[in-house]
Structures are given as structure tokens and as C-alpha cells.
């Protein structure tokens, strides 16, 4: 495998461990990518050399990968300009700031080197490879999510016109229809709850009764899939194949981790090339740059939504601040008076020491709070595998495995339950507040109603 590109780069860069390491690195990278991405070493090389077909392929590649990361639905049949627009937005979203990329034409005719740079930047910045591996993981266990991120509707920007009402604006909808819908909704929730409870029962049964049978000691018991696998092995041939393919992907990943310095050096040569060429056409670029960034006037829904949230939070916090201000001044003056009145007594009791102790205690108390205000780095997100571990077996297994190396991330149901309870309490409070507000408004309206008295339940 003789490559001209890396070879010349090696010549320029000087101390590279031979041009042969690069193909190995690139090959490992391609094999570690998800199969659906269809990245081949040739593609990367062609991208660097700015071959025409390479650009379209690279746009498609980035589209596929970014869609996987963002969890959206996609198909290869999506129009190229949609794909390009999406990729540009996604890169902007991650904070990629090279203006040349955003200026690339939307028919995908030029700019494969830019795309190559963006791709490498993503590799590092969002750990693209690791994320793809984690997302496409073959799941053999019983999994459930521990965070409620996807539920956070306050942050959602989904269009509200998905279920278009069948009535025109002049038509009237009977409020009883609403009531009926509401009742149905509640019914569905209850049914779902029953289903979940049933599912729990069965899960637990399987976990309990197959304890000790699994190959993996840490897990200890089978999952539902594995139970079914035992009964109907024929249906699961594909699963075994997927597992094997994934193992090969992981081995390629490990290889890549060994060889990656070469890749990054190669990318620097790409930057070098572009810098050289860029020097020649800089004056024109500067001019173009100014004219292509007049975006202040166009409205950006993302910014609007975020601004809305920020404003709401600011309002709440400012109200709180005012409330606190009042409270504190009031209390402080009262406190100071009291202290003055008993100044002599307090001096005898060595009040200063007590004061210091109290200060420390309060600091500790508020430390918890400030931890909550900062984003949690190690919070467990997403799907977790459910594992049953009865109390006595937990002590048996103990720390046998986890002492030596980094322990596998794990979270206990108790913690999750506690967090969920807090979350539930705060949501209940919010709901109650909203209902109170409605009640007040409705009371006002009731006074306007003629001759009717409303007695609330």
C-alpha cells in the first residue's frame, strides 16, 4: 500500500514513523466506525486531495454520523441540500467556528478538505467514535433509563401542529369532548402503570431465579433476552453475529487508539496545505466574510426559545432576590438590636467562637446547594442495565473486581429513587401552583357569572 499523500507529508514533517503507519491508523478508524457510515480509507485520502466525488460522499458521511449522534431519523434518500444544512447546523451547535465550512455551496460540489477538518475536529471534540460505539451497542440486557431528560418538555421546541385539530376556528368544540379526552388519557396512564408493574414482576422473577447462571459474574443473572435465547436459540443467530461484528469493531477501536498520533499529524499537514493556499487568496476571503455574516436580522428560533427561558428564570430569580433582600434586612436589623442589648453577656460567653462555628456550619450547608447549581459531570445518563443484587450477595462479590482498575459506572436504585422523589415533589409543587393560579382567576370570573355560586370541592 503505497500512498502518495502521506508519503509527501512524511517527507515534509520529517520524523514520522514511516508512511505505513498512516494507512493502519486510517484503516482502524474506518473499521471502528459503524457499518452504516460506510467510511473507507480511500474516501479520506480523496477528501484530502479534494477530489470532486469526495465532497458529496463526505457530506453524506457527516450527515449519517451526526444524525446518529443526535438521535434523529434519517435516510439516505434525503436531499443533499437538506443534508448539508443539517450538518452545518450541527457543527455550529457543537461550536465549530471555521467560516469556510459554512460558506461551502449547498450542492456539495466543493470543499472536501474542509469537511475532513470538521470530521477530525468532531473526532476529538465530542469523542465521535466513542459516542457512536456506545449508541450502537448491541443490547442484551434489560435496560431502563435513569434520567428524565427526554421528558423535559420545557426545553422542547417541537412544533405544536402535529395533531391538527379537525375543527376550524369558527367551530365550537364541546368541552365535554375535552373531558372525555382527559379521562381517556388518565386511563391510559393507569394502564401503562399496570403494565409496568407487571413487567417489574416478571423481570424480578427472571433475575431472581437465574441468579448465578450467567457467564459474567458481575451480572450474575440472565436478562429477558437471554432467557428467551435459551428457549429459542434459532431466533437469535443474528444476535451472535452482531456481537461478533461489534467485537471486531472494538478491536479496531483499540488499534486506532494505538495508532492515532499518526492520524493527527496527518491532519496537521492538511492544515498546513490549506494555510499555504489560504495565504494566496486571503484578501478576497476577508471581503467575502464580511458580506456573508449579516444574520442579526433573521430570527433564530433557537435563540428565541433560549432567551425566553433565560428571561423566565431571571424573573423568578429577581423576585426571589427581592424577597430575600427584604427578609435579610429585616432580620439583620432585629439581630443587631438583640446583640447590642446583650453585648456584655455575650462577651462573657465567648460568642465569637460560637459565631465562627455557626459560620462553618452554614458554609457546609450551602456547599450542597452550590454543587447543585453547577452541572454535574459524572451524572449517570441514559440507559442502564438492570441488575438484581440481593443484599447478602452484594457483600459476597464485594470489591473483588473493582478495586484494581476503574470500577465500571454503576448507580443504585436507591439513589435514583431519591432523586426521582425530589423531582416529583418539585413537579407537584409546580402543578399545585398553576392550579392555584387558575383557581384565583376562576374565582374572579365566577363573580361575573349571574346568580350562580360556586362551591369548590
Amino acid at each position: 500500500m503505497v500512498r502518495k499523500g502521506p508519503g509527501s507529508a512524511a517527507g515534509r514533517a520529517g520524523a514520522m514513523p514511516g508512511g505505513r503507519a498512516l494507512p493502519g491508523a486510517v484503516g482502524a478508524l474506518c473499521r471502528a466506525m459503524p457499518p452504516r457510515a460506510r467510511l473507507v480509507p480511500e474516501g479520506l485520502r480523496r477528501a484530502k486531495l479534494d477530489r470532486p466525488q469526495a465532497t458529496l460522499d463526505f457530506w453524506r458521511l457527516l450527515y449519517a454520523l451526526l444524525k446518529q449522534i443526535h438521535g434523529g431519523k434519517w435516510s439516505e434518500a434525503d436531499a443533499i441540500d437538506t443534508q448539508i444544512r443539517f450538518v452545518k447546523l450541527a457543527l455550529w451547535y457543537q461550536g465549530y467556528g471555521r467560516p469556510e465550512l459554512y460558506r461551502l455551496p449547498s450542492d456539495g460540489s466543493a470543499g472536501s478538505r474542509e469537511l475532513l477538518l470538521a470530521f477530525s475536529w468532531l473526532l476529538h471534540r465530542i469523542s465521535l467514535l466513542e459516542q457512536l460505539l456506545a449508541r450502537n451497542r448491541v443490547r442484551t440486557g434489560d435496560e431502563t433509563s435513569v434520567c428524565m431528560c427526554e421528558d423535559d418538555l420545557s426545553q422542547s421546541e417541537q412544533g405544536t401542529t402535529e395533531i391538527a385539530p379537525e375543527y376550524g376556528p369558527e367551530d365550537r368544540v364541546d368541552v365535554r369532548y375535552l373531558q372525555w379526552l382527559n379521562g381517556r388519557l388518565r386511563f391510559q396512564w393507569r394502564s401503562l402503570h399496570a403494565q409496568h408493574q407487571e413487567q417489574c414482576k416478571l423481570l424480578h422473577k427472571i433475575h431472581l431465579l437465574t441468579s448465578g447462571s450467567h457467564v459474567d459474574q458481575i451480572l450474575g443473572h440472565f436478562s429477558v433476552t437471554e432467557m428467551d435465547l435459551i428457549r429459542q436459540t434459532e431466533n437469535y443467530k443474528q444476535l451472535v453475529q452482531l456481537l461478533e461484528r461489534e467485537t471486531m469493531q472494538l478491536e479496531a477501536f483499540l488499534e486506532w487508539k494505538q495508532l492515532e498520533p499518526v492520524y493527527w499529524q496527518w491532519m496537521e499537514t492538511v492544515l498546513d496545505n490549506m494555510a499555504e493556499e489560504g495565504n494566496m487568496c486571503k484578501p478576497q476571503d476577508a471581503h467575502i466574510e464580511k458580506s456573508s455574516l449579516p444574520k442579526v436580522t433573521s430570527c433564530c428560533p433557537w435563540a428565541d426559545s433560549l432567551t425566553g427561558q433565560i428571561n423566565k428564570l431571571s424573573r423568578d430569580l429577581m423576585a426571589l432576590r427581592d424577597q430575600l433582600h427584604e427578609l435579610v434586612t429585616h432580620r439583620k436589623s432585629a439581630w443587631e438590636e438583640k446583640v447590642k442589648a446583650r453585648a456584655e453577656d455575650l462577651q462573657k460567653e465567648d460568642f465569637a467562637a460560637t459565631v465562627r462555628k455557626i459560620q462553618e456550619a452554614v458554609e457546609l450547608k450551602l456547599l450542597d446547594l452550590s454543587n447543585l447549581c453547577a452541572p454535574k459531570k459524572n451524572k449517570v445518563h441514559g440507559l442502564c442495565r438492570l441488575v438484581y443484587r440481593s443484599k447478602h450477595s452484594a457483600s459476597k462479590i464485594g470489591f473483588s473486581r473493582s478495586v484494581s482498575k476503574q470500577p465500571a459506572p454503576a448507580v443504585s436504585a436507591t439513589e435514583v429513587i431519591r432523586e426521582l422523589q425530589m423531582r416529583e415533589a418539585s413537579l407537584q409543587r409546580e402543578l399545585k401552583q398553576l392550579r392555584e393560579e387558575c383557581r384565583q382567576r376562576l374565582d374572579e370570573i365566577a363573580e361575573g357569572l349571574d346568580g350562580v355560586i360556586c362551591i369548590s370541592p
Partner: protein
């Protein structure tokens, strides 16, 4: 029992009086019949509404408590009243002068039909509670009752809104019909009859001994019977499906087992128009409730607790007996171990120093080529920070409220004061942070790649974050979630569902507030229905649709 008797008595009395040409008291057959037919909210109520709270008619029909008799009473809205305003609660008993002494033949017919239906219902109820095996075959009715059967099967607290319960009983009776059940008595089918709380209770206890220890709803046990029939007729050889009472738990195939039971019913017995809805609704539930547990239903059949009184086929592997000795098939085991080891190695693999340095060099170089005043935070970081701050106001409010107004000692007072001051500074910090975030949003907005054409087209792509938040930021290990008891698992699932439900409720509340309150405030509705509308909206917005206020007409008697 008394009810049917009363009905007949009344009927005879009316007939006698009619023939005698005299006036009769109270009961308006027309009203009764029309009400009995469908006990839903009545659209065409006479304008001279009785002094009862408006909407009572519909509410009464939906009352779960009390028997059918009570339901009837409240539903009555006589079409012709002639100045009788206060007869509602005392309709049958009183002997007021009716205006309508000659009900039309049509009304008579309807009344007769109603009578018959109600009698059948009572008969069925009695017979089923005594001998469940002697199903009322003769009462095979339309499968409209299956809808309610489905409902009944799922959750016992769910209100059956105005469905004709007798019909559902009949449907279930039919489902039992071909069942030559060899199951011992604990597994008797007891259709839940909503108006009789005692019956429900015994049903709840009965399944305690039941095979699958399924949810304690009678509906499920009823479908168990049906499933066993299904097993019998379709797979006589493998009694595994007999034991597959945990088809009740086949999440994939049926919400509750009634769906599978009903499917069989429908396919083998008759065509059902209700099936489509049922299946769709069921599937909805399944999709909503489904976790990534592959073929759950089939594995559940594996569970053959030996408590099952019935026969255990030698072919069935009972998990209880052999659970600990089960072995995964060899190819899978091999693939799994290799896969597991590869994951472990990948997780522990660290970026080498060379690689880290090379990455750093590249990233720094490329960053020098970015737009020069690069904002400090990328859009994704802005969103993350904002997310953290969402809960802060309520949290801080909690802290503030936790500080009492009065303190016993000087020390406590000082502590409280310090806490409040600390909270104050936290609030200021958060406000500053918000300002920074706002500035970052502005600067990022400037860099936003231009969308040619309409703004709407870029909207969907502006939401790339939904899936990303839970990506785990590249951690190469699926975290494990330990639970140590069955109760914990259940609590976990229940809480998650509760939180989701609350999220939705809050969103709906906000939406309905903005939509419905203006309607009331604008007074665009006709006077007569204003009160009802008010009541409905009050219920929806202030009580979550669960409880109703009482509206009392404020009229002074002249």
C-alpha cells in the same frame, strides 16, 4: 334484586292505571327510556332546568358508586314538565300529577326493551357470581362489550364511563363458553362488576393464589381462563400455553391478557367491529410501555411456577426448578464473553500521551482559524448550563421557606440569618450567570449558519439536542443499575412514570390555561351554558378533571 322488582311493579301499575285511564304518578317512560338507552350527557335538555346543579345528569351517569338504580334516578330529565321542578329525586316514590299520562307506543317499546336488558343483566350477574362455569351462552351479544371487557381487565380503579356493564358481562360469559376448564376453583372467572364493591374485593383476593401472581385484577383472571381455552384449542399438545397464564403478561401481545383472549375470541367466534380499536389501543399501550426487553411474552411463558395446580407437561422447563442451572448456548456464550472483554478493554483504554499531545496541537491550530471573536460557550454548552439552572429557583425557594420566622435562641437566629445571606449571594451568582448565558446566546445567534429561504425550514434542525443529552458523553460502558429488592424495582418504575405524567400534566395545564380561560373571560358563550362551561373548565383546570365543584343557583324563592 330490588331494582328489577321495582321496575316490574311500576310497569304493572302504570299499565293498570293506563287502562283505567287515570293519572299516574311520577315516572315518565319516555324520559326513562331515552335515558336508559344512553346514559351520557344529554344534549337536548329542556331549558327549564331543575334546581339541581347543571350537568348533574351527565355526572350521575358516570357515577360509579351506587347501583344502576341510582344512575337511573339522576338521569331523568322528563321532556315535558308542566311546572314540576322538583321531582327529580323523588320520581318513583312520589305521586305527583304527571302531565304525560299517555306515553306513546314507541316509548313503551323502548321501556320494554330496557326492562328486558336490565333483567338479563341481573340474571347474568347472579348466575356468574354463583356458578361461573355455567356461562350464559344464550346471552351472546355484540362485541361492543369487549371494549369494556378490555378496560375492565386492565385496571380496576378505572371508571367505566357509562358503558353498558351488562353487555360486557355477556361478552365475558361468551368467552368462557367453550372453556372446559380443568382449573380448580381459585381460577374461576369473576368478571368485575363495577357497581358491587364487595364482588370486586373477593376477586382481588382470589387471584392471590393464582398461577402467575399477576396483577390482582379480576379481569386478568378471566382472560386467563380464556387463554387456557386458547391454549387448549390451538395447541393441545403443548400444555405450556396452559401454564402460559402469564400470557397475561405478554406485553408484546396483549395489554392484559384480554387482548389475546379477545383476539382468539374474535377469530374463532365471530367477527368483531370493535377489534380494530381494541388492537390499536392495545398496541398503543404496548408501545408506550415497552422497554427494550425483547420477546418478553415468550420468556414469560417459561415461568411455570409449580404452584400451578394443573398439569405440568414434562416438556416444560420450569424456571423455578432449573433456574440456577440454565446455561446459555455455547456460541452465544463465546461471543458474549469476547464482546464483554473487548468492551472492558476499550473502557479502560486511555489516550496515550503522544496521542493527547497530537490532538491538542491539531485542535489548537484549527481553533486559531475559527472566527475571531469566538463566543465562550458553544450552543450545546449554553443549553447544558441552562438546564442546570432550571430547577434553581424552586430549590432556593424551598430553602427560603425552610427558614422559620422565629427562633428560640440567638445562635439559631444567627444561623438563619447567615443562611439567608448565603442564599442571597447564590441568587446573585445565578443572575450573573444568566446574563452571561444571554450574551453567549446573542453572539452565537450571530454565527448561526444562514438558512436560505424560510425560517421554518431550519427549525427542525435547530433541535439537534434531543438525543444528545443522554449520549453519555462517550462513556464506553453501559452503567449498571443495581436494585436490591422487588419493591425497589417497582418503586423505580412507578416513580419514573409518575414524573413523566407530571411533566405532561404541567404542560397540558399551561396549554389549557391559555386556551380555556380566555373563553370564559370573553363571555362569548350563551347564558344558559355559561355555568356548565364554567364548571367543566373549573374541574379541568383546578382539580385535574377529578372532582367537580357544586354550582348552586342563587335564586331567591318569591
Amino acid at each position: 334484586m330490588g331494582f328489577a322488582g321495582w321496575r316490574r311493579r311500576w310497569w304493572r301499575r302504570w299499565a293498570a292505571e293506563r287502562s283505567g285511564g287515570g293519572s299516574w304518578s311520577g315516572w315518565r317512560p319516555g324520559a326513562g327510556a331515552s335515558c336508559g338507552g344512553e346514559c351520557g350527557p344529554e344534549p337536548g335538555r329542556s331549558p327549564r332546568d331543575p334546581p339541581q346543579p347543571p350537568g348533574w345528569g351527565s355526572r350521575g351517569c358516570r357515577e360509579r358508586a351506587g347501583g344502576v338504580r341510582q344512575r337511573r334516578v339522576l338521569c331523568v330529565h322528563p321532556p315535558c314538565r308542566d311546572g314540576q321542578d322538583d321531582e327529580q329525586p323523588e320520581t318513583e316514590a312520589s305521586s305527583k300529577d304527571g302531565c304525560e299520562s299517555r306515553p306513546s307506543p314507541k316509548e313503551l317499546e323502548e321501556l320494554e326493551l330496557l326492562n328486558r336488558a336490565l333483567e338479563k343483566a341481573l340474571r347474568v350477574r347472579k348466575s356468574i357470581s354463583k356458578t361461573p362455569l355455567e356461562a350464559q351462552v344464550a346471552l351472546a351479544e355484540k362485541p361492543t362489550g369487549e371494549g369494556s371487557a378490555f378496560e375492565n381487565a386492565s385496571e380496576q380503579q378505572v371508571p367505566v364511563s357509562g358503558r353498558d356493564v351488562p353487555v360486557s358481562r355477556e361478552a365475558r360469559a361468551v368467552s368462557k363458553k367453550p372453556a372446559s376448564m380443568k382449573k380448580p376453583s381459585p381460577y374461576q372467572l369473576r368478571a368485575p362488576y363495577r357497581t358491587d364493591p364487595d364482588v370486586k374485593k373477593t376477586q382481588r383476593r382470589a387471584p392471590a393464589r393464582c398461577v402467575s401472581q399477576g396483577p390482582r385484577t379480576a379481569g386478568k383472571s378471566s382472560s386467563k381462563g380464556a387463554v387456557s381455552r386458547q391454549g387448549k384449542s390451538h395447541r393441545p399438545a403443548s400444555s405450556a400455553s396452559d401454564q402460559g397464564v402469564c400470557a397475561a403478561t405478554e406485553l408484546q401481545n396483549a395489554p392484559g391478557s384480554s387482548k389475546s383472549a379477545l383476539k382468539e375470541q374474535q377469530s374463532s367466534i365471530r367477527d368483531s367491529s370493535g377489534e380494530g380499536n381494541l388492537v390499536a389501543a392495545g398496541r398503543q399501550l404496548i408501545d408506550a410501555g415497552k422497554k427494550s426487553c425483547g420477546s418478553h411474552g415468550e420468556s414469560s411463558r417459561k415461568e411455570n411456577p409449580t404452584a400451578e395446580g394443573g398439569s405440568t407437561s414434562p416438556r416444560t422447563v420450569t424456571i423455578q426448578q432449573q433456574g440456577c442451572q440454565l446455561k446459555l448456548p455455547h456460541p452465544y456464550r463465546k461471543a458474549y464473553s469476547r464482546n464483554c472483554r473487548a468492551w472492558e478493554r476499550s473502557r479502560l483504554c486511555q489516550t496515550s500521551a503522544d496521542a493527547a499531545a497530537a490532538r491538542k496541537r491539531f485542535t489548537e491550530r484549527i481553533q486559531t482559524t475559527f472566527c475571531s471573536p469566538m463566543p465562550a460557550l458553544s450552543p450545546v454548552e449554553i443549553e447544558e448550563e441552562l438546564k442546570v439552572l432550571q430547577d434553581i429557583p424552586s430549590l432556593l425557594s424551598q430553602y427560603v421557606e425552610a427558614e422559620p420566622a422565629d427562633h428560640p435562641t440567638l445562635q439559631r437566629e444567627y444561623e438563619s440569618l447567615l443562611t439567608l445571606e448565603g442564599l442571597q449571594s447564590t441568587v446573585s451568582q445565578c443572575l450573573r450567570k444568566l446574563q452571561l448565558l444571554q450574551a453567549a446566546v446573542e453572539s452565537q445567534k450571530r454565527l448561526h449558519p444562514d438558512c436560505t429561504g424560510d425560517v421554518g425550514s431550519c427549525c427542525p434542525a435547530c433541535v439537534p439536542a434531543r438525543g444528545r443529552a443522554c449520549g453519555g458523553a462517550g462513556t464506553l460502558a453501559v452503567p449498571l443499575l443495581w436494585y436490591s429488592s422487588f419493591q425497589e424495582l417497582r418503586d423505580l418504575f412507578a416513580l419514573k412514570l409518575q414524573v413523566s405524567m407530571l411533566h405532561q400534566e404541567i404542560a397540558l395545564q399551561k396549554l389549557t390555561m391559555t386556551e380555556l380561560l380566555p373563553v370564559l373571560e370573553s363571555e362569548a358563550c350563551p347564558e344558559a351554558s355559561a355555568a356548565q362551561l364554567y364548571r367543566a373548565i373549573y374541574t379541568q383546570l383546578c382539580e385535574g378533571g377529578k372532582r367537580f365543584p357544586v354550582l348552586v343557583r342563587d335564586e331567591l324563592a318569591d
